[in-house]
């Protein structure tokens, strides 16, 4: 929201409401008249897509909880009952399971957009950090949700991930027992994971409100990275962003539906259709796909570093890979936001994207042979991108000449187009 509110309730009831609790005014100001940069492209639609995915996960999750039993003797059977006996249960569960994956697909594209266009730079540091917190909560929620079906991957995934904490000197084992409620993954673990899996999405929703609040204080970035300077740089949220976000959601949900109906187990693991056996580890355990890059980083540290043994080193590297995201606003020293005007950053950014996908692929492979040195090189680049390239490039790179305004950039792009914002909005995806 910027500028004074232009909300004028038309009905008597509307005025009565507005004088007592101006919620409609809040919605109107933030999602109808709110001015947004006129040059936003489709990469800016993932915020909306993520909101709708959170709602999908909450709705399907609440309904699934009505049929699920969080007891080690019943959990696996109750999930099969949902699949076979509960009316439409199979669809609800496939929506929820694939929904988690699509939630992560959207969040990775959203984060990549932020890294490409420098969305984290002042004054949007807090907005970025709130996003990192949401991502952290999503990972915790996704991990605990994967434990609930009580399959082999559930139990052994939980064993390995809580095992990370045993790497901490002195208190590690105590922390692990605190998390598990016992000496191994068992009934107390399942119950507390279920409770927290139900709680965390609501915490995510809370942080999402803060994230959107922060966004509406500082305003959106845009592909040029130049701040809005004049009214002609903007268009109204409705209809422009509403329709664009809506269209992107429909396309995204169509792909989501394809997975639900045609390949619902493609992103899962067949071992999780075998009930958890605490005396038998599957031959090859892997986490869900969205954790694979971090799993590769964990296993890349096969050597001791001074007093830190390889186990603690791997765990520290993995947590550092996530923690480094929080510092990105201060690691990037460049004054220019958008990679469109930073030729070298653009190159390293795309290398980072390729490297992350490669790390993910390595994460799905066993820790042997040439995979190990590949994991190490790839991990090195992951950290070098944040800790070396980002700070140094800002000092030595010569950026391209920036346009004077968003409007100028748009007009430059469509020569002969109208300077009027409505005319430009006919092609709002135009990059600067």
């Amino acid at each position: 929201m910027s500028g004074p509110s232009t909300y004028h309730p038309k009905s008597a009831l509307g005025r009565w409401f507005d004088a007592r609790m101006p919620l409609p005014r809040l919605v109107y100001d933030n999602f109808v008249t709110d001015p947004i940069p006129r040059n936003l492209n489709y990469m800016y639609t993932f915020g909306g897509i993520l909101s709708i995915m959170l709602v999908v996960q909450l709705l399907t999750g609440i309904v699934l909880a009505m049929h699920y039993a969080s007891d080690t003797t019943l959990a696996f059977v109750s999930v099969e009952k949902i699949m076979r006996d509960v009316n439409s249960g199979w669809m609800l569960r496939y929506m929820h399971a694939n929904g988690a994956s699509f939630f992560f697909i959207a969040v990775y594209l959203h984060i990549a957009r932020g890294l490409y266009y420098g969305s984290y730079k002042a004054p949007r540091e807090l907005l970025w950090i709130l996003g990192c917190i949401i991502y952290l909560l999503m990972m915790a929620t996704g991990f605990m949700g994967y434990v609930l079906p009580w399959g082999q991957m559930s139990g052994w995934g939980a064993t390995v991930i809580t095992g990370f904490f045993t790497a901490i000197p002195l208190v590690g084992t105590w922390i692990q027992e605190l998390l598990l409620g016992g000496f191994s993954v068992d009934n107390p673990t399942l119950n507390r994971f279920f409770s927290l899996h139900y709680l965390l999405p609501f915490m995510i929703a809370g942080v999402v409100v803060l994230h959107i609040w922060a966004l509406h204080v500082v305003g959106q970035t845009n592909p040029t990275g130049i701040e809005v300077k004049h009214k002609t740089d903007t268009v109204a949220f409705t209809p422009y962003a509403t329709v664009k976000d809506g269209f992107a959601m429909v396309v995204f949900l169509a792909v989501f539906a394809y997975f639900i109906f045609y390949m619902p187990n493609y992103l899962g693991h067949p071992d999780n259709y075998t009930q958890f056996d605490s005396l038998k580890t599957p031959a090859h355990i892997v986490p869900e796909w969205y954790f694979l890059p971090f799993y590769a980083i964990l296993r890349a540290i096969t050597f001791n570093i001074g007093p830190i043994d390889s186990k603690l080193g791997g765990v520290l590297a993995m947590f550092a890979a996530i923690a480094v995201l929080f510092f990105v606003p201060w690691l990037d020293t460049s004054k220019v936001r958008s990679a469109n005007y930073r030729p070298w950053y653009k190159f390293f950014f795309w290398l980072f994207v390729v490297n992350s996908i490669f790390l993910g692929w390595l994460g799905s492979k066993p820790a042997e042979g040439w995979y190990i040195p590949a994991m190490q090189v790839s991990t090195l680049y992951y950290f070098a991108f944040f800790l070396l390239i980002m700070p140094l490039l800002g000092l030595i790179e010569t950026p391209k000449k920036l346009p004077n305004s968003i409007t100028e950039a748009v007009l430059e792009k469509n020569k002969g187009g109208s300077g009027h914002p409505v005319g430009a909005a006919a092609e709002p995806q135009t990059k600067g």
Binding site: T166, E177, L178, T281, S310, A367
Partner: protein, 188 residues
């Protein structure tokens, strides 16, 4: 506070301010503790503190797995070759030099005889079958040293359950074990 006179004497309000603050801090801490405490292993989990196992059926070269505190315990009647291989392993090659044997002092060295429970029964090896890396269950009689091999991240243990290769930092731990008779042991 603006109504304060300039004297440095503490007032009744200062006292109430500090007392309320302290009560709040102590109260918050005391209130938080049960929420943390309830997460620890409960009485029924801790109650399974010892089990007795009949090993009379365990022939040479056979292993059995029993569940102790939710974890598998490997009991193996080792063959003569396995004992020999473990005894002949050079101490310098061991990644973890400590015996990790709950029945011995914590600084005991990881020689083969300090890895077993009873030197007279050096063929019987008892250890918690949880990989010391990240908690998977190693597979028996596999890996480069003919002992145990963890499929998760590739840790190799020898025939005395000592870590020889891979990411695991420690030898497989030996739980508290006592021979009740020649064919019966108590774990825990």
């Amino acid at each position: 506070m603006s109504a304060h006179d300039a004297s440095d004497e503490p007032t009744r309000r200062d006292f109430l301010y500090i007392a309320t603050g302290m009560a709040g801090v102590v109260g918050a801490g005391a209130f938080a503790w049960p929420f943390i405490d309830q997460m620890r292993p409960d009485a029924s989990t801790l109650a399974v503190s010892s089990i007795e196992v009949d090993i009379s059926s365990l022939a040479e070269g056979a292993s059995m797995v029993v569940k102790f505190r939710g974890k598998p315990v490997f009991i193996r009647n080792r063959t003569a070759e396995e004992i020999k291989a473990a005894q002949e392993a050079p101490m310098a090659e061991l990644k973890d030099p400590l015996a990790r044997n709950a029945n011995l002092p914590s600084d005991a060295q990881a020689t083969d005889e300090d890895r077993v429970v009873d030197k007279a029964k050096e063929n019987i090896l008892v250890m918690i079958g949880v990989c010391t890396h990240l908690g998977c269950i190693p597979l028996g009689q596999q890996g480069d040293f003919g002992g145990w091999f963890c499929p998760c991240h590739g840790s190799h243990y020898d025939t005395a359950g000592r870590i020889r290769k891979g990411p695991a930092p420690e030898n497989l731990p030996v739980p508290p074990v006592a021979f009740l008779s020649d064919t019966k042991i108590r774990i825990g």
